[in-house]
Subunit: 157 residues, 2 copies
């Protein structure tokens, strides 16, 4: 039993997901010189995984790390791009973060708020498994596309 647990890679099994592919592409877009060409998607997204133990060790006092804010930004960039692919509506991101790691992120298409997420403990932004990361992104995209379908005029307004 112990051996089995130890054998499981960090983040569990990689899953096949449009969102994870989009997130990897967003990160690779910053790699102008192809230095990460040898790395797998799991390598370049490794920091989005946060095990239970790792999570506990991160203090939630003080300003969130710029690295965390970068990851949060990339996560919502990927959500926005996938929304655009599926709906044709460009979604732009706005963040409002306090210094204590509380805040709100919205994605806006036209006059429509297609994603609105209140964040807390942003210091601990991360997902236990690839499956959970993929699910969080895919769910947000699906819900955003549903919102656009419901208010198409506002989304294009």
């Amino acid at each position: 039993m112990t051996a089995e647990t130890l054998d499981t890679p960090r983040g569990g099994e990689m899953v096949d997901s449009d969102f994870l592919k989009q997130l990897a592409a967003v990160i690779r877009a910053e790699d102008s010189y192809g230095q990460w060409d040898d790395k797998t998607d799991a390598d370049i997204m490794a920091e989005f995984i946060l095990t239970k133990d790792e999570r506990r060790e991160i203090p939630i006092i003080g300003d969130p790390d710029p690295d965390v804010m970068w990851r949060v930004g990339k996560f919502y960039d990927a959500v926005g791009l996938l929304i655009e692919k599926r709906s044709g509506c460009m979604a732009s991101q706005m963040q409002k973060m306090s210094h204590e790691g509380f805040g709100r992120i919205v994605l806006i298409a036209g006059k429509l708020v297609v994603v609105s997420k209140h964040l807390r403990d942003i210091h601990r932004f991360g997902f236990e498994t690839w499956a959970k990361l993929a699910e969080a992104g895919d769910k947000m995209v699906t819900s955003a596309v549903d919102t656009i379908d419901k208010y198409p005029e506002a989304a294009r307004g």
Copy 2:
């Protein structure tokens, strides 16, 4: 003629405007100890007026002054509160400012973006006259209420 010009108060004649009353109220809300009770609305809003000469003297290099950001925030707080009074929809503010004084401000009611303003040269945020300040606020409120009337479901969604 010269005498007449000199006699005109800074900002021109005060005008009667719901927006200016709301803005003054927003500012007075911070005066917990009533220290500004003796001041007129024109006194407490004086910094929203920027004459042509004053504008020219403000450099637009570097980070905008915290005072400017405070004024921008109060301006949009007043817009938001007046939108709420007229439509019943609460509008919350989100800003996205770069370090160079460029940015975007939105007011969001439900799922609807009721005000969206791209800002530049925020260092020079201000209005030549009370009439122009009032007009800028009133126009934004009217347009926001029109948007809510057009997409009532999204605004309450």
